[in-house]
Amino acid sequence: MEDVMNLKKETLQKIDEVIPRYPEKRSAVLPLLHLVQEDQGFVSRDATEWIAEKLGLKPINVWELVRFYPMLRDKPVGKKVVRVCRTLSCALQGSYKTCKTLRDAFDCKLDGNSPDGAVTVEFAECLASCHTAPVVMVDDDLHEHVDEEKAKKIAGEILNGQPKQGGSA
């Protein structure tokens, strides 16, 4: 099944490193889900079964986590994932406008992808940087004080830095 998954060598290596850290194998399921998602962009049904087999679980034990945790995805998303904090301190500083600016820039619906599938803009709940509101995460990077002007700048950088093509997976 390793072939079916086509996971990168480093991913497989990390998976083997992570499992023995835990007194009980099942604890490794969340780290494995993160590793597979980082590798493939999302967690497919096949991946669910593969992880289950690896840890001696039933596929439902893995799938129910994919369906529960907001950061885990069961569908491909854009190459760039832009997450705008929606919660109170950011909203007080205008994060809804920030979100709209970004959605308009990529022509995507709320919680949706751009038409070419390259960019996903979605809301996130408090990102624990409320003093630098509004904040936005572009993939792993936190951007602070993102007003409309800064949002346009970020959008421009993403658009320029990325050839127009379909999403990952």
Binding site: L30, E125, H131
Partner: protein, 455 residues
């Protein structure tokens, strides 16, 4: 650093040239306290923590020494330590500063704590949205391992301890300690019923487990350094040590500030430390401890009798900043997240924003929380989108009143308290919204002002 601040936990953070690598940490005396702690008996260290009176900084303010004393050592099972680095309560951002800027302080605090409770395995449960934070902690752990501060037979003492970083995946409920444990076991993070599942007896893998917040565990390092008795001299009785307050919202200088317990008032924090409000604005309301806590109205008076039998009559600005000082307001200092709102804030919209959070984060196990939080969100969404009705005010209250005390975990309270307090304290505003909308005086834009958009 402002005049009244006393930085113990944040001492080195944001200082010029202070990096998050081990060399910097060692130059600043890092791991010396760990070395000394290793020479002492675990029970002595537990005693120091008890004497310090330090209260948990994660939200509930439970004395850490007492929590540790509940550990079931007789079971003979392994003991685990878990650092709660899930930091997700809206308005809270202190743990992030420690993790990103001074990770070794946390590792040292954790090692001392693990040794004190005889845990050989510890986990840092870090929220999924801190990917860099997780990498920084992993690197710090490797650095500490390379110096044998961590790992097998630490510095030749025979004590072994491992720390692993475990990433969450975006669910707020993983911050609740028993939900966190379920998540760490690889399951959905459904909180457990207490009793019987108090972590100190039946925690991770049904073994005795201590879950403490990042800031709490950092404090243990300083308690081990100065001794519990000395530490207890900082701050006020029952509110010992320093506390990091996170201020956000409508102030000129939002940020994180560390003070001795009871060293200043809420008014001094807002006006002197945080530079007050923006020009031309007036204070309207303050949430004193993360968005789940009851809101305080700017013109409220807080009256009562304190423990010594003295009567008090405080304005909001007079509230003393520590656990007990905030509690006299009927609200709580929770996670230390203070959110300030000025007179441009529409309270219906603000509450709609808060309620959407708790509805999103309810794990769904308990009917009152799952259904109640969702209905509150829906009613408030409707109210803030041009369809407020006069009867909504009482409807909100009746739904919210059904939740507290009827759920497995405190998220039920977190969903209800904001609604109960906003509706009670800003009732006129909720009613005016309905009247204005009925009279066609608002155009169904949700009352969203041009500047502040909340829902």
């Amino acid at each position: 650093m402002s005049a009244k601040e006393r930085r113990i936990i944040l001492k080195n953070i944001d200082q010029h040239g202070y990096g998050n690598d081990i060399d910097t940490y060692l130059e600043h005396g890092g791991y010396e306290i760990w070395k000394k702690a290793l020479q002492r008996k675990p029970e002595e260290l537990r005693e120091e923590v008890k004497r310090s009176g330090v209260r948990g900084r994660g939200g509930a303010g439970f004395p850490a020494g007492m929590k540790w004393s509940f550990l079931d050592f007789k079971s003979g099972k392994p003991v685990y330590l878990v650092c709660n680095a899930d930091e997700s309560e809206p308005g809270t951002f202190k743990d992030r500063q420690i993790i990103y800027k001074d990770p070794h302080q946390l590792i040292e605090g954790m090692l001392i704590s693990a040794y004190a409770i005889t845990a050989k395995l510890a986990f840092i449960y870090i929220r999924g949205e801190f990917p860099d934070g997780a990498r920084i902690l992993e690197r710090a752990i490797e650095e500490a391992r390379s110096k044998n501060f961590l790992g097998k037979d630490i510095l030749g003492t025979g004590f072994s301890c491992e720390i692993h970083v475990h990433r969450g995946a975006g669910a707020y409920i993983c911050g609740e300690e028993t939900g966190l444990i379920e998540s760490l076991e690889g399951k959905r993070p459904y909180p457990r019923i207490k009793p019987p599942y108090f972590p100190a007896a039946l925690g991770l893998y049904m073994c005795p487990t201590i879950v403490n917040n990042v800031e709490t565990l950092c404090n243990v390092k300083h308690i081990a350094e100065m001794g519990g008795e000395e530490y207890a001299k900082i701050g006020r009785p029952g509110n010992t040590g320093t506390r990091i307050w996170c201020v956000s919202g409508h102030v000129r200088k939002p940020g994180y500030y560390e003070f001795e317990g009871g060293a200043l008032t809420l008014g001094e924090l807002i006006y002197d430390i945080c530079g007050g409000l923006h020009p031309g604005r007036k204070l309207k309301a303050v949430i004193p401890g993360g968005s789940s806590m009851k809101i305080l109205r700017a013109d409220e008076r807080f009256k009562g009798t304190d423990r010594e039998g003295n009567n008090f009559d405080f304005a909001l600005e007079d509230l003393i900043l520590d656990f007990d000082g905030i509690a006299v307001s009927g609200s709580l200092s929770g996670s230390g997240g203070i959110i300030v709102m000025d007179d441009t804030t529409d309270m219906v919209d603000a509450l709609a924003n808060v309620s959407a959070f708790y509805a999103h984060e309810s794990c769904g196990q308990c009917t009152p929380c799952r259904e109640g939080s969702l209905w509150l969100k829906k009613i408030l969404h409707r109210m803030s989108h041009g369809q407020a009705r006069l009867e909504d005010v009482d409807l909100l209250k009746s739904v919210a009143d059904q939740i507290p005390g009827r759920t497995i975990c405190a998220l039920g309270e977190a969903a209800a308290w904001p609604v109960q307090s906003y509706v009670a304290k800003f009732r006129d505003e909720f009613i005016a919204k309905a009247e204005n909308q009925a009279a066609g005086r608002t155009n169904g834009d949700g009352g969203i002002s041009d500047r502040v958009q909340l829902v």
